[in-house]
């Protein structure tokens, strides 16, 4: 007889092994899926995972991994703080949009003046925008006990309306022949988040993501606040006895994740994307939730998970072009990754035992 037995302590070994197993299971099942679609499975998996890193055109794709991964990591790091404490910010997509709008707004307001001060101001504005947007669910939760999951999620749709309004109205490019979308910040030196070294993909957003990883690691392992965050998540009652103020923690966690999401939006709009447009947001805020969990809410794990997600996106597009895989199959493939991770996660907390239950 096969039974599940709860482990007295979550297994550390399994918690490290399950993400790897999830990736392997995804490769296996994904291979079967591709084979069922009549595509060569090994070739498809190789294209997704190998081609961007070591293929013929890796010199172009490797920098793109940074561009695609940086916003994911930056947002996921912020989310992981709250998630650890049981504070669920699902609305990072909205904070990302608002950060992009405030950041780009400051840049566009200065156009066409050139000055070194503009870009730092945009960074501040971006972080502030995301922070302020996240403060809405935070204050509503601490004041009125509303559910932050619902409020933060709903605010994503409000932010999308703002984005559409800005693209069509206030921020519309006056030289754009009536088409929606702002001026392209890539063509405005003072506001352009350019590559720090040409051809490397390394822009300020990537730097910010790396700094966020380090800060988050130090915070969680060396700082009282980080200890409180972990304690609240693991033993809420004990945390209260230890003098943790839940309201302050909610404000901090939502505020920090909002500010980081806002920064991600600001770096994206001033760099790789270049302009405020109706379809500016492509779901980084939601994908970052997957990245946070795939990375086990651990800063280093998130860094790796962000890279992996970026890899499946870029590799997926290559597989579409080279092998004619439909994009829906790639999305199923990415979905499998989260599915297997959550399913295998059970092994961290439970052990499979074969045989008769022991007599207690």
């Amino acid at each position: 007889m096969i039974r599940l037995e709860k482990r007295p302590q979550p297994s550390r070994a399994w918690s490290l092994a399950t993400p790897l197993m999830a990736v392997l299971a995804t490769m296996l099942m994904g291979g079967l899926l591709f084979a069922a679609l009549g595509k060569p499975p090994v070739e498809a998996i190789r294209t997704i995972f190998w081609e961007p890193l070591f293929g013929e055109f890796a010199f172009y794709y490797r920098p793109q991994l940074l561009v695609k991964g940086a916003p994911l990591v930056l947002i996921a790091i912020g989310l992981s703080l709250g998630f650890r404490a049981g504070i669920w910010n699902i609305g990072a997509e909205g904070q990302y949009i608002i950060g992009a709008l405030t950041g780009a707004g400051v840049g566009l307001a200065f156009y066409p003046m050139e000055s070194w001060i503009i870009f730092p101001l945009m960074i501040l504005a971006g972080a502030f925008g995301g922070w302020a947007w996240a403060m809405i669910p935070a204050v509503l939760k601490t004041r009125f006990g509303t559910n932050e999951i619902l409020v933060s999620l709903m605010l994503v749709y409000v932010a999308e309306q703002f984005l559409a309004s800005m693209s069509l109205g206030l921020m519309k490019n006056p030289e754009g022949f009536g088409f929606p979308g702002s001026r392209n910040l890539q063509q405005y030196d003072s506001a352009h988040n350019a590559e720090l070294i040409a051809g490397t993909g390394m822009h300020w957003g990537v730097v910010a993501a790396l700094i966020a990883v380090i800060f988050s690691y130090v915070l969680l392992n060396r700082h009282m606040l980080g200890y409180h965050i972990r304690l609240t998540g693991e033993a809420p009652r004990a945390a209260r006895f230890a003098g943790v103020k839940p309201a302050r923690l909610v404000l901090f966690c939502l505020g920090a994740s909002g500010a980081l999401a806002g920064l991600a939006g600001m770096f994206e709009v001033s760099g790789p994307s270049g302009q405020v447009s109706i379809d500016f947001n492509v779901g980084y805020g939601f994908t970052a939730i997957i990245v946070a969990f795939l990375g086990r809410l651990h800063p280093v794990g998130i860094l790796l998970a962000g890279g992996l997600m970026a890899l499946t996106y870029i590799g997926g597009d290559i597989a579409q072009g080279n092998l004619g895989l439909p994009s829906a199959a790639i999305q199923v493939f990415q979905g499998m990754l989260l599915f297997f991770l959550l399913a295998l996660d059970m092994l961290t907390n439970f052990r499979i035992s074969i045989g008769k239950p022991e007599v207690v």
């Binding site: 055109f57 069509l168 022949f177 088409f179 392209n184 790789p272 994307s273 447009s277 290559i318 439909p326």
Partner: protein
């Protein structure tokens, strides 16, 4: 020694690459799609045209496509990917691909690019679009005759010139045949979202609309109209013939095939040059789907006569006298709108109620 070896290796590799390129005399054509090929609308029609290119040239051509590509950095990466992998000609089929296309084109001067619906061109970047507003004129004529409640519903996608032009053209021609007609416009802020489109259609039907025009790609409004029973619709981007003869009484069909074939041929012959194409019913880029028997014969005849007049160039849908919504003059008697005005159209004509969202 080591360095020379390395250089020789590189030279050999280069030689091989060049040899490979010569051996392969197929013309490689890439397509970047904003939606899924199965959307039954915009992207579907672009993919039909891609298939027409394959059919036309057979072994001499190889096509690749990537669907569901988000506008922005993802598009730039996918376009670059196609250029790197040896595409000779790349069609980027959404307005939001404009700046990415221009950026990539700068890096690959030998590759030809074709951007749909944009306004930025370069030495190796052409733009192309279709005069869908000609099709809207035909729709407006039929809609004006068919409505009994005198309320025509319109599902707008985004308030951009392309869509506003369509609303104006449909309104002008509906008004011409039915002076009491009134337009109700709902903005869905999407090109393709069956749920939102169905909601928009239901709202319009509740408000009394018995004809619905749509600038979104799904068949959801058709289904909503069918459920309501007495509401007329038109196919958008593709024929949507599965809803004929009623509620779908006609359609506007995007037909990119002749253009794609001609441009691919131009690359093969080495005659490709950067152009700005804006074709309508005449050259066949805009097709009018079969007008069904649900439309009275005399209305059908009138609609077809209008279509022929536009095809021959003898009639322009924007012909004065016309005023703007605010009452100011737009076109004097007999004057026709120039392409620049049409391309950037951001106002309603007189008689349309409501304002364009900002």
């Amino acid at each position: 020694m080591k360095l020379t070896k390395l250089l020789t290796g590189a030279a050999v590799a280069l030689g091989l690459a060049a040899g490979g390129a010569l051996a392969q005399d197929k013309t490689k054509v890439g397509f970047v799609y904003v939606g899924p090929v199965g959307d039954g609308g915009w992207t579907y029609e672009h993919d039909q045209a891609r298939k027409a290119v394959v059919e036309e040239f057979g072994d001499k051509v190889e096509t690749v496509y990537v669907e569901n590509v988000a506008e922005g950095p993802d598009a730039e990466r996918v376009i670059t990917q196609m250029a790197l992998q040896g595409a000779d000609l790349i069609f980027t089929t959404s307005f939001g691909y404009m700046d990415p296309t221009i950026n990539v084109a700068k890096k690959f001067p030998d590759v030809k690019f074709e951007h749909a619906t944009g306004y930025k061109r370069a030495e190796n970047v052409s733009t192309y679009s279709a005069r869908f507003y000609e099709g809207r004129a035909v729709q407006g004529t039929i809609a004006g005759h068919m409505t009994e409640s005198n309320i025509v519903g319109y599902i707008g996608s985004y308030p951009i010139p392309e869509v506003i032009r369509g609303i104006n053209s449909a309104y002008i021609h509906a008004k011409k045949v039915n002076p009491d007609v009134e337009f109700k416009i709902v903005w869905a802020f999407t090109w393709f979202d069956p749920a939102k489109e169905a909601d928009a259609a239901k709202v319009l039907i509740e408000q009394g609309a018995d004809v619905i025009l749509q600038h979104t790609d799904s068949t959801a409004p058709q289904a909503a109209a069918q459920a309501a029973g007495n509401v007329v619709t038109f196919g958008q981007a593709s024929d949507m013939a599965e809803y004929a003869p009623f509620p779908r009484v006609s359609s506007i069909i995007d037909d990119w095939a002749p253009y794609y074939i001609a441009r691919t041929k131009a690359v093969m012959d080495g005659t490709w040059s950067s152009v700005d194409t804006w074709d309508g019913i005449g050259p066949g880029m805009v097709g009018i789907g079969e007008i069904s028997d649900a439309v009275p014969a005399e209305v059908k005849a009138e609609a077809l006569a209008l279509k022929d007049a536009m095809a021959s160039g003898e009639y322009h849908p924007f012909t004065g006298p016309l005023k703007k919504q605010d009452g100011s003059d737009f076109l004097a008697e007999g004057e026709t709108a120039d392409d620049g005005t049409l391309a950037g159209m951001n106002f309603y004509v007189e008689g349309i109620e409501g304002s364009i969202p900002e």
